[in-house]
Structures are given as C-alpha cells and as structure tokens.
Symmetry: D2
Subunit: 335 residues, 4 copies
C-alpha cells in the first residue's frame, strides 16, 4: 500500500483524497491545507491525520508520496521540496504560469530520479486513450489530422479568470497536452487566434480571450486543431478526433444519462453533457491515481511527467505570442 | 422500354405513375381512373393517354403491363383480367380483405405464367434489405429473434378506418410480409393482442384496435415481435431488428434532415421522423418499379408475388382469431 | 451510519459489501458466508468482522440491518429470521423459486413493519429511471406500449441453468419487475413463448428455454413486450422503450467506452456493450444501497418491496403456464 | 416552364441536365459540348436538341437561360456572353482560377441586371441549411465558432490535380463559401496551413497540398475552422458545426444506408459515408435548380451570386498567401 499525503484539499484535492481512500493499493497518509478549517473538516470526515505544515509532510516517515493540489504558485516550490525529500509526487497542472520558473525548477530537480507525475487527467480517459491506441495500433493508418473540441460548461468566476494566467495557460493547456498525447511527436509550429465573445468586458479587463482556435503542426506535417470556449450551455464538450490514412477515431461526449426522447418536436433527444470535470473525468481521475501508484511501486517513469508539463506550457507561450502577433510561431522561438 | 399503364391515380397511383415516367427502362403507357376529373388532371399533367375503361387498358397492344392502384375491392378482379389479357401486373396490397376471395383468385390464375407482383414496398427499402442480407450472408449467424416496430404518424380518417378491414389486415399486413421476408421461413404460430388507446370511440365503433402486439413463431422456433400503433407523434416509426447467434442488424428510422441540436435542454436532438410512407419509402417505391421491370423483362418470377400476398393475409386472419380467442393460433388452422 | 451485515459473499455479496464500505451513510457491520475460506478472505480484505452464523448476525446489537445475498433457497428463511430479529433487510431476488413458499413467507412477515427491500437493481439505473420519470411526468403522454430488450452476454454454466428455476423465474423476472415499474399498473394478462436456439441440448435436458418472448397487458390495455436471449455476442443488451400518446422514451445500451471508429468497412463503430451486470449496473447497485439506507433511516417503505418480488414471481408462473399451454393466461388464475 | 440549355455535359453537366428534365417548372432546351460524341450521346439519350456552338445557344429564342458546366477556363467568357445575350445563367464554381480575370468579368457584367447564380450546391443541402437557419433564428444564440469538416473520399486523378489551381481554389473554395453562408458576415482574417500527407510526390510536383487547415475570423471575432483532406477512406466526410451562446447545431454525415450492425467486434456499426458529391448532394443539386428557376421567374437576385464566387476565390488567395508566408492574412490585402 502506497501511503500518499494530499497537499491542498480544495475541490480537486478533496476528490483526489477520496480516490486514494477508495484505491485498493493506496492509503491516505494524511492531508495538509493552509486554510485550517478546511483541513480540519476533511481530516475528520476522512478520518486521517492533518499535517501542520508541508515540512511536516515531507519529513514524515509515514508518507511515501505526495499529491500536490495546492494553488498554482506553490507547485514548483513543493515539487522541489518533494524531490529534496525524495518523495514521489503527483502534481496538478500547471507547474507554474511562468516558463522561467518551470525551467528553473527543471534544472533543480534534474537527475534526481524521484518520480514526478503531472496531473493531465484527460490522458486517462478511456475514450481519449482508445483514440491514442487507434493511432498507435495503426487502426487508422498514418495520422494526418487531430481535432480537439474542448469547451467548458460555464465561465469561471471573474476572480479565478483574473489569476488564471489566461485561457491558453489555464484551459488550452489540457488540449496542448492532449494534442501531444495523440500526435505522438513534438509540435513545431503554433498558430492561434482569440476572441472575446462570451464576456467581453471581463476579457478586456484581463487582456484575455474566452473563445480561441489554435492550429498546431508537427515537423512531419501532422495538423491539430483546437477549439475552445469558456461557455457551452449544453454542458462540458470534450471531443477528440484523430483522422488518418486508414480511418478516423472519435472519442465522444458523455451525457448525464442514457435516455433518448422522441416527441412531436424531434427525436433522439439526449440529456445535456456531464458537467463538469470532476464528474466527466471521474473514471480518469481514479485511473490517474492507479498510474501514479504503478509508477512509484514499479520504479518506472510516470506516463506523463514534468517535461510534459513544461512542453504544454511552452505551447501556451507560443500560442500567446501567435495570437498577439498574427503569425505562426515556431516552438523553437520559445524557451 | 416496358410500357406500363397505371390503374387508379389516387395518391399512391399518381406517385407510381411519376416513378414510371422517371424510370430509365419504363414508360407510362397511360392511366385510368373511375373518377374522371382526377384521371383527366393526371393525364394532362403527365402528358399521357387516358383510358376510358380497364377493358380498354387490357385490350391495348400499347400496354405491356399494368400497375393496379385502384381501391382494394377491385384488386382481385383486375388481377384476374390482367392474367386473362396476359399483362404482367404489379398490384398494391392487399389482394382482397377476404381470404376466400384471394383463394378463389389464386385458383383462377394458377399456372398462367403471367408475372404477378405484390406491392409490399418495404422489401425494397435499402435498410430493411440490408437486414435481410445480414441474415442471408450469415453476418449475424443463425437468426433467433426479429423485432419489427411499425407505427403510423397519425390516425387515418374514420372513413378509411371503417373500410380498412381492421388493423391486422390493413396495417400489420406490411409487417407480416416483412416478418416473412426477414425470417426466411414460414410462420407456424401467431399470437396477437389488441388495445384501444389512441381513439377508443372509433375503435369500439369499428370493432377494431389501434394498438397491437403480435408474436410469430416458425417451426424451428424463430420468434418475431411486431409492435403497431396508429399514431406516433414523432413521425413514421419504421424499424426492423434481427438478432442472431453472431450478432444483430437494425434498420434505423429516417429523420427529416441530418441536423443535430444541442441546447441547455439537451443534446443530439434530431428532427422528427419522415412522414409518411410516400416520403419514407420514396427510394423503395422506385426500386419496386425496377424490380417489376426486371422480372417482366427477364421473364422471371417477381421477388414478391401473389402467394406472398395470400400468406400475409392468412397471418392477418390468424392474428384476428388469436386476439379474439386469447390463444396462440396455428397457421394450419387458417385457410 | 447504518451498520449493515452482508450474508453471503459470493460475487454479488462481495460487490454489495464493497459498496457498503464506500457508502457515506453506511458501514459494513460484518459478513457471513457458509463457505468459511471465502468468508475469511473477504473479512480480511475488507477488514471487517466475520460472523460464525446467521444467528450471530441477527443477535448482534452492532448490526442495524442485513443484506441477503446467499443462495436462493435460503432467502425466505433468512427474511423470516430478519423480521423476527427486527432487522431491516435488503434481499437479492428471487425470494424463492416456489410461489407457495413466497406466499407462506408473506403470511409470516405480514404486518411486522420491518422494512424489507427486494434487490431489483435495474429500477435504480439512471436511464431506466429516466424512462419511468418520462412516463410519470407525462412527457410522453399516456403510456401505450413498453418494449423491454434484455439479453445476457453469454449462457450461464449448465450447473447454474439447471438450478435456476428456468428462464422465466431466473432471467425474465427482472423484466417482469421492470415492466411493472414502467407500466405503473398491475398486469392482467400474460402471453409467453419460448424456443431452444442457443443451446438446444442443455435446454431439452432442463425442460427450459434460452430464447423467449413475453407479452403483458394491463386491464386498461397497456401492452408490454419482453425479448430475452441467454446469449448476445455483442454484450449485455439492456434497453427499455416506453411509447405513449405524446412521444417515446428509450433507455439506451452502454458501451465499454465512448470511442467511434470510421474505416473503409464502415462508420460510427462503437465498442461492444458492457458485460455483465456488475459493470453495467454498477451505478445502480450503489444507488440501491442508498435507497435502502434512506428507507431504513427515514422509516419509510422501501421503493421496491416484498410484494414486488411476489408479483414478479407470479408473472413468471403465468408465463410458464402460457408457454406450456399456448394461450394467454390471466394473472388472476395464479396464486 | 423555364427553358434551360446546358453547356458542357461532362459528369456534372449531365446530372444537371437530368435534373432539369425532371424539374416540374423547367425544361431542357438543349445541350452543347465541345466534344461532339459526348454531346450526341446525351442529346439522344435525353431526346433534346444538340447545339453546334455556344453562340447558337445564346442566339436561340428557344433558350430562356443557361447552365454553365463547361471546363473552368471557359466560365468567365461564357458568363460575359450570357449577360450580353441577356440569358440568366447558373454557373458551376469557380468563376475562374485567376482573381484578376474574375474582377475583369465583374466589371464587364456590372449593372446588367441579368441574374447570375453560382453553383455552390452545398448551400442547398437540407442539413447545412438547417444549421444556417438555427443561426438565423437565434436557436443557438449569437454565433461564436463554426467548424467545417470537408474531406473527399479519394484523391482525384493527377491530371485533374495539376489543373485544379491547388486545393484552396479547387476544394476549400466550397468551404469558404459555406463559412460565409453560416457566418453571415464578411471574413477579415485568414490563416492557413497545408501538408503533403496523402500523396507527397504528386503534391511536391504540383506545389500543392492534400491536407489543409484554415482558420477564418470576422471583424466581430467569430471564428471558423476548416479541415480538408483529399482522401477519407470511410467516404465523403461533410460536416458543418455552428457553436453559439445558446447552443450548437451540427449537420451530420450521410451513410449509404440506415443499417446498424452489432457483432462480437463492436456495436452500432454503420455503412461507409456516401461517395461522392453527386450522390451526397443529389437533393441539393435538385434544390439548386429550383432556386435558379425561382430567381429567374421572380426576377430576384439569386441566393448565391457572382460576388459570392468572387469572395470565395478571394479567400482562397488569402489562404494561399497565409500558408506560404506563415502569417495571418487580412482579406483587405487581397484583390
């Protein structure tokens, strides 16, 4: 049993803590949160130890590994501390909003051999994985185009948006990782455009976009289109399409139930899409914990690591520059 | 070019006449209708000869074959005349509402060698045919169960219902033929039940049902369920499912267009189903004419002949008895 | 926290035990199984008490309620003991294969006020429930027809089949309950037919069928068709269709993932259906525990009780008689 | 009855000629083709007059209007002649591969008042039109993003590709028009990228691409993504998705029939997509003729006119420049 401590028990950290409790090969070694009332509540509810500080966590011989679900600005520091303490870590994305900070962190932890896994949970979705497998197995032949549709069910609160680092670093970053996952080769060119269509006032205030389109290209010419919106009223729209020389594989959306309705106004009417990521990717979050446990127990590199987090951020930087300058940006121009 | 005269130019006859005009290997030799204004209008519109009587049609050397789309009580007489005149005939279903009359007709035309084809148009639907092919090719292995859903989009006018011979002879008869088509072997047992749920008053007046369920069984144990309703508000519901030892084949419904709508109230919302048979089976009606032309030109037996019409009526009689007596009726008990 | 002991930890009992462990308002009070090695393994794995006998369970003040997942012949006895001990019970179906035994049990426990819930898990499936709600809310108007397709992914072992009481009591019983759930009124007539198409030799040996069709009718004329097969190679086929005066609601099947494949040989190809009930109805089993906890905690009658189990068995008896005698059987003729 | 002559009876011209024959308010006034054997064959088959020259067509008082389906380099000349002869014309796309030639033609025919319609047939597809209506009616709120997937079922012959003017002018041009149709406002920015993945050797020889992605943006920020490939092995992939503030509308693909297959290897397997445009857009081609007849008879501007053809070509030019220079091109830079 891998004893994992969870750092940060906001909405995501709490979900992870429950998944660890339910996991057959992991136990929850304890939790920490800077906001004490929250930490106390969760520790009591899950009947686990509450650590007083992250230092206490890293010092504890009862903790084999950590799951970092604190606020973004603390991720890089905690990763460095985890490596120093030789505790394998599963860290929520992004590593940091600053590519410089990420690069500095990379330098610091390089060669440590301590397993670091990045929380790009969508890689563990059974549908998206099946698309990746269809590419790897040659089921769809040589890959030519990837189309990723990724739209949130509703705009996040203004306070969140303002701190998010912008849509490319906050939201598209998942799609950049998905693109890399499906494409299976590094991306050389990025072309992005953004609009303010959902909440113009907020976007202008933040210098951000709520609706973006990104086109990626690999050196061999494979293309990937990403379509993002901060608000899809019909639910959390999460589709991945891979098109190749021998066919196409699509990971479809998931509706709230499996009912279909037929009335005078139409047929085959399904429920809205699942809303939001904690529900839509519930299975994937559980699978992610399993993958982390496997990597640590078997001493192998996690399926999605630090460098994947860095590459996704790098693509975000390229997209920001592309949208600002109205040109295709080569990834070699960035960091 | 096969020169075909159309007898009866009501809604169906007119549609057939237009299909003959459009057919590359057939021409419309003329039309006849007892209601002269209607005949005149169609003859003028399609720029073809109007015959003064059916006798004139059968006597004409310019007529190679006839399509009988007159009212049901005239079908058997016209078939007998067609055979006497040695004109191949494509006759709308049913041959007659009376099994005795059908049997008498059968005796009269037996051995003539004149091709008689019955208008069970659904056999020519590409989806339903693909189900039949999946059965014949062994794609779904040995056939075990057939499920036919067949619901009209709205109740026919009371005057029509009163003259229809009842739902089993008028509506289910298409499904009896479809069952025989898909099952590929004769039916030995019939079990039927009827209800009055759509228009109770009218049904009580006519001693008829508007909602029926029929279960058929072959000697080898293959089962077929038929579900009928006189009114499906979402359109003309026409599905055929064949289940076997190696899989299942389903012929799906057709919607008015290929739009899918996603809104706050739901996803994947399609248009209502096509309404009604002239639209839904437009391709099948055209293919039916082709099959008739092929049979006549190549001197082979039509794919669906007089005996198929008789067998379908026999199943209707068995269903009527089964529903009345609350028991499974062996088809050997009937005519 | 409701403290529930699980009696019988075979495949289903074990799954229930795990669901109780994971339930936020229930705890696993312990387990019992006549087969000691199995009991020891599970007790150790789940870290709970192992009871030496059912008597010990019923006597324990640490046990608030029981879940009966032992072999069928023990169900009625255990229910009687549970009632005597005033322990609410959630009992797997069927109560017993003998209607007489069920009736005797009913007499014995009548008026006790101890909540007894029957494990008709499909009532708790979100899709099937949504169909029921569409009926109750009037979304599809007045209900006219119900079509239940229920096919197992593969034949159970011969030893199981031989002890099962026959397909109507063992398999269709779930569909009888679903029919009652969706119809919302009692069934007055049953018409059934069976065939031996999947494994003729085994079926002949057991005097059983592997492929059956059942038609039910209520006093008001509502119709329900049930289609069963012991083996659907494409997976566990579980569909419920309700057709009414204002529309139709369908609870669709669930595939293993959400991939769709497009190749030269075809399009929109999905994975096989989930296989088998423990996976397909995983959510429903969890919801069933919640419903039991709710009923006990709130002192209200469980949503699906002893009488529902008795009625389903009564319909099975009627179906057996109908299939044997080739006639529609009135439920008033039975029990 | 509008008497229409067809110029050019290759594959498309012939299909148009047959549609005119079948049209209730149009007649085929005759045909012309520079290749005499072909012209003779069609004239005989359709039993219509064969003109000896285009001059003869334009001079004939028996010709009310013309349909131009000759080779691309002749389109502009014939349009000018048609206008000079005051014969309304329906002209296949593109007007010309050279924007200069198109602009010159525009100048020449300006203010003539002779109706000119461009053959952007996809505008008349019932599914795509339903998407446009969902945008216009406000069903999906304010439009934010459009996604057009448009993949041919197979590479055209090398000789065709070499003369085609390149993928943007030959294939994407349909999608540029569709984008304008759905967006409902002019496009200000174009960003395109192309790859050689299907037939690298041929593409290198022609300086062309076989796989392209284009992103369009309007002044108000609406975005449109176009995904093209010269070869989709599963058939002719033609989807249009419109996403807005209140929902999404998708025009789905069409399969060869309505069969769904379920076997051990998977479920819900549909036939390949229709192949190719003459089948897929058969209804649209017929509706296009109707729209032309309507426009001429009612003396109103055709729904899709010369300027639409010019704008689509202008977008193709912008895409070519964008792909070559790796930057977003403003449409104001072109023509």
């Amino acid at each position: 049993m891998l004893r994992i401590a969870v750092l940060g028990v906001g909405r995501i950290g709490r979900m992870h803590a429950e998944n660890i409790v339910a996991h057959p090969r992991a136990t929850l070694a304890g939790i920490f949160d800077v906001y004490e009332p929250s930490a106390k509540e969760i520790a009591e509810k899950l009947d686990v130890m509450r650590f007083e500080s992250t230092e206490a966590v890293f010092a504890s011989p009862e903790v084999d590994a950590v799951l970092i679900a604190t606020s973004t600005p603390t991720h890089a520091d905690l990763l460095e501390k985890a490596v120093a303490a030789r505790k394998p870590a599963l860290c929520e994305k992004p590593i940091d909003l600053s590519l410089d900070r990420v690069n500095a962190c990379a330098t610091k932890i390089a060669g440590s051999g301590v397993p670091i896994m990045l929380g790009f949970v969508r890689r563990f979705d059974s549908g998206h994985r099946a698309v990746r497998e269809a590419v790897e197995n040659g089921t769809i032949g040589e890959l030519h185009q990837v189309v990723i549709t990724s739209r949130d069910p509703g705009m996040a609160p203004a306070a969140y948006i303002e701190m998010s680092g912008g849509i490319f670093r906050d939201m598209t970053i998942h799609d950049f990782d998905m693109a890399r996952f499906i494409l299976g080769e590094e991306i050389s060119q990025v072309s992005a455009t953004g609009s303010r269509l959902v909440d113009r006032a907020l976007m202008e205030k933040c210098g951000d976009y709520d609706t973006v389109t990104v086109v990626l290209k690999t050196a061999s010419g494979k293309q990937c289109m990403i379509s993002n919106s901060r608000r899809a009223v019909y639910g959390y729209d999460q589709r991945v399409e891979a098109f190749g020389s021998a066919g196409m594989a699509i990971s479809e959306n998931r509706t709230l139930n499996h009912l279909r309705l037929y009335t005078e106004s139409g047929t085959d009417h399904a429920a809205p899409l699942m809303n939001f990521f904690i529900d839509r990717y519930a299975d994937a979050f559980a699978a992610e914990i399993s993958a982390f446990v496997d990597a640590v127990e078997q001493g192998k590199a996690p399926e999605v690591g630090f460098e994947d987090g860095r590459q996704a951020l790098l693509l975000a930087e390229a997209a920001i520059r592309s949208a600002a300058e109205g040109r295709t940006v080569n990834t070699s121009e960035i960091g």
